[in-house]
Amino acid sequence: MKRLLKYALLTMALLATVAPVYWLITISFKHEVDQFAVPPKWFLFRPTIEHYLDAFFTRSFGRYFFNSLLVASASTLCALIIGTLAAYALARFRLPANLDRRLALWILSTRMFPAIVTAVPLFLIMRDLHLVNTQLSLVIVYTGFNLPFVVWMMRGFFAEIPRELEEAAMIDGDSRLGALRRIILPLATPGLAATAVFCLIVSWNEFLFALVLTQTDDAMTLPVGIAGRVTQYGIKWGAMSAAAVVAMIPILAFAMSVQKYLVRGLSLGAVKG
């Protein structure tokens, strides 16, 4: 009985997460007449790839995809490099008057106000720097957005690695950065992978700043591009769905490629932060 209940709940949870994705995928392969047929055509319909061709060849989704890929990976990389070094410093060095702990809290506090608060000032800054409508502006903003998260995640992971390991490395003749690279980072790989996935997802899905800071296909990312197909002349459900399906792929692929680290990384980070 208990087992039955468990499986019923699991099935419901699975349905709730998978059903929209399934619906999205089917729409992307349906002719427009089938998309909103009543009753809905769940399983049997005549498939087509016309929406994919429409999205990526006649429309600019290919360009959005490239922009998204560039912005997400560049900002994730930047956030990881800067954030990991900062996290290491905060985890290992005691500053006078508890400054290290205050600094960590201060870094976290930058995530405590809604994103919209910074949208207008960031736009003005980017305008003055002539960076509006460039990928670089998004890379900068996303890096800043992800940094506190990286710092806090990695600080927890570093704190779990015994200090003696790098002390041993330094006595063995290595520099501190060498010990970080050769001893600490390899041991923190699960944490690094988990953190990278989170950053990538956040940057990949980010909508607000992309909307404010980009105007043309040159810099527009997928979320803004897809939403842009809702126009006064009609809604291109098929092309939007096709783009959304493709948009799922990179994150899914990355998450799967680092899966062996991910489980350990997520559970480790959860206990200590």
Binding site: E164, L165, A168, D172
Partner: protein
């Protein structure tokens, strides 16, 4: 060690600590410590946990900054020299093996960091591994090793690059008792082969006595005594040293000197002083003293009704000998007897003190040097 042929390369250093102090906040952990360690010497820092011995070692390694005072290596001040450039190797209590590397990579790490070419690294690693009999383990990872094997790998990593000094922080304390004795002997043998200056930290007095050329006993951040194991055992400088070194621990009795009757007296005891002791006490004028006497200088008898009467509390058979714990009213003391000694609890016994072997300490715990004890 003396008279043994020095190794082909004379890879040693002298280490000197001058008025070294380390405070965390306002609390001094190491307090005004001065020590001079000769090259090739093994010095053991001995003390209970929290006495500052590990902190001292970490300052010598360069992992901890001294609050004040100086650390000199071969006469040069190294307070501001980072650990990488001190040419010292350290074995940690936890071994600190790199978990993601194989044993071979662990041992070779100090050489790779020094940019030795891979051929040479392999060569040195296999030679060191052979020396410590861990050649068969080279392909394994630390988590697949037993405690004793990890210990050997940590030692191999320390000696592979021929450092000029070894620092060892309780290297044997994570091993079980049997293995600890075996590794202790191997460690001593290894050090004698290499002749490298060694600073060894432990809370185990047996390790200190067996391994050290000289032993520095520390308590609460302060150096109590720095001398050869024999002197430390026979002439402890403070009451702390006397109680810390030796097993079973020395018996102590607080009391006063009755000059007229030439006796040491307290509530439960009245012990006759030797003439020499009585004379010295008369000169000193000290009345309140602590008397320390080791178990082997107290003899117990069940038959000869001669000496101080006492009750048997328990007996502990140790194999070749028996520790007899006795009670005289409120006072409890321990004596050594032969393996054949048997007695029921609460049975009557008579004990005799070899007063010429007594140690005398003033109320502050300092040894009364002038009062003789043979």
């Amino acid at each position: 060690m003396t008279g043994s042929v020095p190794p082909t390369r004379c890879l040693r250093m002298s280490i000197e600590l001058r008025r070294l102090t380390k405070a965390f906040g306002s609390r001094p952990v190491v307090d005004d410590l001065s020590l001079a360690i000769d090259d090739g010497e093994v010095v053991v820092l001995l003390g209970p946990s929290g006495c500052g011995k590990t902190t001292t070692l970490r300052m010598v390694a360069g992992l901890e900054q001294a609050t004040s005072g100086e650390i000199l290596i071969d006469g040069e001040r190294v307070n501001d020299v980072p650990p990488q450039r001190r040419d010292i190797a350290m074995v940690f209590q936890s071994y600190a093996l790199y978990p993601h590397m194989t044993v071979a990579a662990n041992i070779g790490y100090p050489l790779r960091v020094r940019k030795l070419d891979p051929g040479q690294v392999d060569d040195q690693v296999s030679r060191t591994a052979a020396m410590l009999e861990i050649t068969s383990l080279l392909g394994r990872r630390p988590r697949e090793l037993s405690g004793g094997e990890r210990q050997r790998v940590a030692l191999a990593r320390a000696i592979v690059r021929h450092p000029r000094a070894f620092l060892m922080d309780e290297p044997l304390s994570n091993l079980d008792a049997k293995l600890r004795l075996q590794m202790r002997a191997e460690l001593k043998h290894l050090q004698q082969q290499l002749g490298t200056t060694t600073v060894y930290v432990t809370h185990d007095q047996a390790e200190a006595m067996t391994l050290g050329h000289r032993v520095a006993v520390m308590n609460q951040g302060r150096l109590q005594q720095f001398d050869t194991p024999l002197t430390i055992y026979n002439e402890p400088a403070t009451r702390f040293v006397a109680g810390f070194v030796g097993s079973p621990a020395m018996n102590f009795f607080a009391g006063e000197i009755d000059v007229v009757n030439q006796r040491f007296v307290n509530r439960d005891l009245a012990l006759v002083l030797t003439d020499e002791q009585a004379r010295q006490f008369q000169q000193l004028g000290t009345k309140q003293v602590n008397l320390g006497i080791r178990a082997e200088h107290i003899s117990v008898s069940l038959e000869e009704k001669d000496g101080q009467p006492a009750l048997i509390y328990v007996t502990e058979l140790m194999g070749p000998e028996t520790f007899v714990i006795l009670q005289i009213d409120q006072t409890r003391l321990v004596a050594r007897a032969g393996a054949e000694f048997r007695a029921e609890p609460d049975s009557h016994a008579w004990i005799r003190f070899e007063m010429n072997k007594a140690h005398w300490f003033d109320q502050a715990g300092q040894r009364l040097e002038s009062v003789p004890s043979a």
